[in-house]
Subunit: 299 residues, 4 copies
């Protein structure tokens, strides 16, 4: 693996759970669109795709069949590592209104996301209100559910991608639920959602540094940053030895006011990577770095 | 206020929401016990009392009448600044079981805590599961409720004591809800509850420093630390210009295995304060530092 | 000046005091060579040139006439800001052997460097042994000499470029000798010379951050880094709001083992600058940022 | 050694190289005075004595015979670990005027300090001007002399106490000259001399933390702080796992304006140590922590 220490996994998150074509001219939402876009990004240097499923009406879902169809179409086109979200979104199948009128992200719907055959799935061990255009919606994940989700993934051979919105997620849930499990553990640090998610943090150099300082042993980290600080923050992540995620899910515009295609984000961060003396990992190299089945060193 | 910069507010938290006499020989739970204990602590240098109410059966409550009785008895004995918890506890009146069997800290019960006539009340703008001996219980505070609680306090002339369990609470809720409000803002940093509360953090020097670095403007901070690192962490807080909280609520034993009286905690931290060239604030000085009604500079 | 906050001054240091053509195929050492090389670098985005004079035999000197000839030739070709070194080197005119056999950088020779008509000159308020191939040589600068050098520069209308090899230079000499003087103060942080200069430090993210944290008020900083960490460290400097210096003086090879032309270093760092959403300053913009005579806002 | 991790070595530095009885009513300068004072400090909890010799006229010296007499008198009274300075001072035997009129700390005089039979000696691998009341005096220690001093100590069975005035001393000289040598290595961090010594740093929490972060492997560190921040800084050092030095050499007055006896400094810091749940080491425990001959675990 040492031979790969100058290789950077570029993840593309092309879709997310929120935007539709009405919001952004380049966001792919349906399976064929997503697969075509991911293949272009793979050609530009992306080695992992962080995918969200959408219903035919573009509302959010974690429907296993839709995920399976996306994943199959992607894999027909390229060997990119496939990640499926189990967080989903705050529309469509993902939100349930309780009898008292409060709204929650539906737990059963989240679990459905495990059924699409992904290599890795997001694991949000997070309890927080999301302040959405549709009101306050609870992401309801007590520790018992986080444990259930981690077990379900491992039973299916899926590697969890732990989402860390702040140091407490690293020091509590991620440390607890990775202890004793085979590594490397994959952590995605999600910064810049502080206007939307409780407990989320903005990107600042000090915050990213502190989160890196408390990573669990034997972990591999990637960073995704929402908003205008994205490229600067990802460049900082590269200097700290991290991997990077780009794409319309995190930031619709590379230059403020100019909606950007996913492949352009990939090209841009690859240019930064190369000028720092690093190289984008191939999908095979990404599998080796992440310890995924099918990695080169297993063949 | 500059003249008071070497004065330290020592808060005593004598009771908390959990322990009973069966657990700890010195914990005061009923109004007369609490008032007598607080008066002793005031004599030893405490200038603020962080009080929890209990029902006659020692279970947790935020009942306004019980709070009023405690506060009256305390004020008969000394002029200490009175703080009442609106978090309460995870037993008695504070927990409600919903129709789906999940358990939450009851919102109406939390609001009751405002009715006891305190100078300051705790404001936990926090959504998190508490892993208690009685199961996972949700502290359910969307931003809309945090705003409601802040407004209710200010309407009643109560200064909020913002509880910060981590940097996100400082950067989100506390920054948002203190913006435009008259200061100084009172923040209590609560560290060491990471085994119990989601999103809570352990005390480490780096974590406390980072939280101090993101305090809102015009704020006064105190630190409370659960567990064996208490005195070291509070000493660190003193070096950073902070105020300190001690007492059985946070740490039952000054020396591991030896249950300790509240007054002994106060005496111990006062000894540290004095050896650092500082002095415990009087209650009048505390009112001035906190900008409370009745402060010396208003007379 | 706010309008220029996304502008980065790229300084090229083409020559240094050590290397000759025998060491590096692209190092310019004689006036015409230097001027031609600087003009190419200016065309690629450099707005300041940090120049060392050499004797006709390529040994180090601070001879005012040689500096004047270099500066004139440079200014015939472009409007780049001209910086002359008063440190010089450890060969030629710059080293003197004392009666006891010990060797020092000659003080009178250093002062000569002020006479070439530069816009800014380096000011090394540094006492340290340099471990050179020619033995241990003392850079001998007591505080009284640092004061003398600062006064001599200001008398001649030269802006000092304070060289900071570590936090003590910022907290002592630079803070002391810039106090009460009109800003902005120009600081160049020199990292990576720790194998050669006493009191020098390597580049690490923590060291650069700490030095930025103790910059004097109203200062503008640039960073130069010797060795293989150069581009990563300069990228870090850009994220921290700093300006950058590149060139053969600091690093002979952009890729290890491949001697690199100065213009290629400038092109490379400009590519990084642009991908971070910043732009290289023009020479006019650099003059404005540095508060130099001839700046746009004086016209 | 693990059993000793809550033990703190309190070093007393009773004399220093500067003050005389005319400056401070309690400073001991002659052998009998020093020995009596050190014995009192040992009784109060000190386990190491950092000693400076003085001539009969109270001017500074490193005369081996005077050191030997002090050390013998101290050892007659108690078993404290004995440290002798090889820095000396800026008066008396320690300063030499060169032919060009500049003044240096005399190298031969510094070496003399090794002859007094100490357990440890200070090793200042430092080149810097000292701004003294007697003018600028050069502490002249090129790397070759630092190596010579380290070898001379080890040949005599003396453990070097490396003086670190800043991170560069730790990252350069101390790292270089302890590499491959048997540990533990003893480092004394000297902060607060920034108004006197080039390259020295003030005590700030960030500076002390950064120096601790770059300690060499297998090292034991102590901190001494000149000036009014002494007790706060030493308390910080205790929180970071360090040992502490007090005494008139570093700070003449525990309370500003009130000259203080050495034993009172020791008592004061011992009170802080105990309130942090730590204990002052005995001299035997100090020998074990430092790996000195005569340590308990060798018997």
């Amino acid at each position: 693996m040492n031979a790969l220490r100058d290789r950077v996994i570029v993840t593309v998150a092309p879709t997310g759970g929120f935007l539709t074509r009405a919001d952004h001219p380049y966001v792919p939402t349906q399976p064929e669109e997503i697969a075509a876009d991911v293949a272009r990004c793979h050609g530009a240097g992306a080695s992992m795709a962080a995918l969200h499923a959408r219903r035919p009406d573009d509302q959010a879902t974690c429907d296993a069949e839709i995920y399976r169809r996306i994943n199959d179409l992607v894999r027909e086109r390229c060997d990119i590592v496939v990640n499926n979200s189990t967080g989903g979104g705050v529309t469509g199948d993902m939100v349930r209104t309780r009898e008292d009128g409060t709204r929650v992200v539906d737990w059963a719907a989240r679990l459905d996301g495990l059924g699409g055959g992904a290599d890795t799935c997001t694991l949000d061990a997070i309890t927080a209100y999301i302040s959405s255009p549709y009101g306050e919606i609870l992401m309801d994940t007590p520790p018992s559910r986080a444990a259930e989700l981690a077990t379900a993934m491992r039973t299916r051979g899926i590697k969890p991608e732990w989402e860390a919105f702040g140091p407490s997620h690293l020091l509590q849930e991620i440390r607890t639920f990775t202890a004793g499990e085979p590594g490397p553990h994959l952590v995605n640090m999600v910064l810049g959602l502080d206007h939307t998610f409780q407990n989320a943090l903005p990107y600042t150099p000090a915050i990213l540094q502190q989160m890196v300082d408390v990573l669990p042993d034997d972990s591999v980290f990637s960073v995704s940053i929402s908003g205008a600080e994205q490229i600067r923050g990802l460049t900082h992540a590269l200097l700290l030895g991290g991997h990077v995620r780009v794409g319309i899910e995190d930031n619709p515009c590379l230059v403020p006011g100019e909606p950007t295609e996913n492949v352009r984000f990939v090209e841009h961060i690859v240019e930064v990577i190369e000028r720092l003396g690093l190289q984008p990992a191939t999908a095979d190299e990404a599998r080796t770095i992440l310890g995924l089945k099918g990695a080169l060193d297993e063949q």
